[in-house]
C-alpha cells in the first residue's frame, strides 16, 4: 500500500461525523426491531391459520362423526378474512407514499363488509389528501425560507395494516399511517369486529359493564409495573398523566382475544415512550 492510499484513507476517516448520528442510529435500531416483531407476528398469524386449515381437512376426512359435528357448527370465522386489495407506491417531489390497503371479506355479512371497507377507503383517501397538503405546505415553507425546491426531502408516508386477532368469533386489525419528515409520526385506526353479531366491538362488549374500571385499573397497574421494571420508562404524573381511558379509546384484540388499549404518542408519556399499550385481562366468567 502506497503513501497516497494512506493519505486518501486518512482523508476518508476524517469525514466529519454529525453529532446526531448516535441518536439517529439508536432510534433506527428501535424502530427496526419493532417492525421485525410486527413481521414475525404476521408470519405467526399466517402459520396458525395454515395449520388450522390443514388440521381441519385432515379431521373431516378422518372421521365422519367429526364431519357431522362440524357441519352443525355455524362456519363463521373460517371465511372472514382481511386481504390486501391495493398496494401501490407513489413517488413525487413532495412525498413518497407506500400504501397497502386492507379490505375485509365477510361472506356472511356483506353489509358490514361494505360498510367497513368503504370506511377504510375513505379514511385512507382522507389521510393521504391531508398528508399531501401538509407535504406541499412544508415544501412551500421550505422554499419561502430560502431553501431550494431541489433540496427538499420528501415526506415519506406509509399506510399499512396489521391483523391482531382472528378467530371464529372476533377479527381485530389496525390500520396505521406513518408520516416521516424530521421525525416519524404514526396514526393508528383500529377495527374490531364481532363476527357472530356482525358489528363492531366496543370495550364494553369484551369486558362487560365494569369495563371502565377494569381498563383503568389495568392501565394504572401497567404504568406502575413498567416504571418499576425499567428505569428508562417514564409516564406523566402531573395533570398530563393518565386519568381514565376515553369514550372512544383506541384498542385492539390480541391473539388471545384480550383487549389491548393503545395511547397516542405524548398522550400519557413523553414522546420517546412511543405509543404505550396495555393489555387488559378478561374478567373471569
Amino acid at each position: 500500500m502506497t503513501d497516497s492510499w494512506n493519505k486518501a484513507r486518512e482523508a476518508y476517516r476524517h469525514t466529519p461525523i454529525p453529532e446526531e448520528l448516535a441518536f439517529a442510529v439508536a432510534s433506527a435500531v428501535r424502530s427496526g426491531s419493532r417492525r421485525r416483531r410486527r413481521l414475525q407476528a404476521a408470519r405467526r398469524g399466517l402459520t396458525g391459520l395454515l395449520a388450522g386449515c390443514a388440521c381441519f381437512v385432515l379431521l373431516v376426512n378422518a372421521s365422519p362423526t367429526f364431519a357431522q359435528a362440524v357441519s352443525a357448527v355455524p362456519v363463521l370465522g373460517e371465511l372472514a378474512r382481511v386481504v390486501t386489495v391495493t398496494e401501490y407506491t407513489l413517488d413525487s417531489r413532495e412525498q413518497l407514499i407506500d400504501v397497502r390497503m386492507p379490505a375485509l371479506e365477510l361472506p356472511e355479512n356483506t353489509d358490514l363488509e361494505q360498510r367497513i371497507n368503504t370506511e377504510i377507503r375513505a379514511r385512507i383517501d382522507q389521510v393521504l389528501q391531508q398528508a399531501e397538503e401538509r407535504a406541499r405546505e412544508a415544501r412551500d415553507a421550505y422554499v419561502e425560507t430560502g431553501g431550494s425546491a431541489e433540496d427538499f426531502i420528501p415526506v415519506v408516508i406509509d399506510v399499512d395494516y396489521e391483523i391482531k386477532c382472528q378467530n371464529g368469533q372476533y377479527l381485530s386489525f389496525l390500520l396505521t399511517e406513518t408520516e416521516t419528515r424530521a421525525a416519524a409520526y404514526t396514526e393508528i385506526y383500529a377495527y374490531n369486529i364481532d363476527l357472530e353479531a356482525g358489528r363492531e366491538l366496543t370495550l364494553r362488549d369484551v369486558l362487560g359493564s365494569d369495563y371502565l374500571e377494569l381498563a383503568n385499573e389495568a392501565v394504572r397497574a401497567g404504568i406502575a409495573r413498567r416504571e418499576a421494571e425499567d428505569p428508562d420508562a417514564s409516564f406523566f404524573h402531573d395533570e398530563f398523566g393518565f386519568t381514565s381511558i376515553s369514550e372512544d379509546q383506541l384498542f385492539y384484540l390480541n391473539e388471545n382475544g384480550e383487549p389491548v388499549v393503545v395511547f397516542e404518542k405524548y398522550a400519557i408519556a413523553p414522546g420517546y415512550m412511543g405509543m404505550p399499550e396495555f393489555t387488559i385481562a378478561l374478567p373471569a366468567e
Partner: protein
C-alpha cells in the same frame, strides 16, 4: 437462536455506525441525506434480520442494504446528479497539467467504481465480499477494480496504486 443473530446484528450496527455514515456520505454528499440512508438501512436490516442465516457474515449482508439505499437515494430524490451523468466534472483523462490528489480523484470515477474502490481500500473488504455487497460476480468486481485503478492512475499520475 434468532435472538442471538438479532443481537449480533444490533451490536454490529452500533459498533460500525461511523463507517456506515462515511460510506453513505461519500455517495450522497449531504449530511442529512447520509443520516437518512443510514437510518433507513438499519430499519430495513433489522426487520429482515430473520432472513439472515447464522453462518452468513454480517458485514457484506449489511453493506449490501446500505449500498442499495445509498444508490436509491438519487433515484428517489434527484437531489444530485449522479456523477456518471455529469461528464463535465470529470477531468479529461491524461491531462497531466491537473494532477489530482488520490482522494479527490476517487470522486471522478463512476458510481460503481467509486464504490468498489471505497469498499476495497477504505473498508478493507475482500474481493469476494465486494462481490456479495454489489451483487455481481467476482470477475466483474476484478475487472471494475482494475479499470478504476487505471483511471485513478491517469488522474493522479501515480504509477503504483496497487501492488
Amino acid at each position: 437462536m434468532e435472538q442471538t443473530v438479532h443481537q449480533q446484528l444490533t451490536a454490529f450496527i452500533v459498533e460500525h455506525q461511523e463507517d456506515f455514515y462515511r460510506l453513505a456520505y461519500s455517495h450522497v454528499k449531504n449530511r442529512d441525506a447520509a443520516l437518512d440512508v443510514v437510518q433507513e438501512s438499519i430499519v430495513k436490516a433489522l426487520s429482515k434480520a430473520d432472513g439472515l442465516r447464522r453462518s452468513e457474515s454480517l458485514k457484506p449482508w449489511f453493506y449490501r442494504i446500505l449500498v442499495n439505499e445509498s444508490m436509491n437515494y438519487y433515484r428517489y430524490t434527484r437531489r444530485l446528479t449522479p456523477l456518471e451523468e455529469a461528464p463535465e466534472t470529470a477531468a479529461p483523462a491524461g491531462d497531466h497539467a491537473t494532477r489530482l490528489d488520490l482522494y479527490a480523484a476517487i470522486d471522478r470515477l463512476d458510481q460503481k467504481e467509486q464504490l468498489i474502490i471505497r469498499l476495497r481500500f477504505f473498508e478493507d473488504m475482500k474481493l469476494e465480499e465486494i462481490a456479495q455487497v454489489t451483487g455481481v460476480n467476482l470477475n466483474t468486481v476484478k475487472s471494475r477494480l482494475y479499470k478504476a485503478l487505471r483511471k485513478l492512475r491517469d488522474l493522479t499520475g501515480e504509477e503504483h496504486l496497487y501492488d
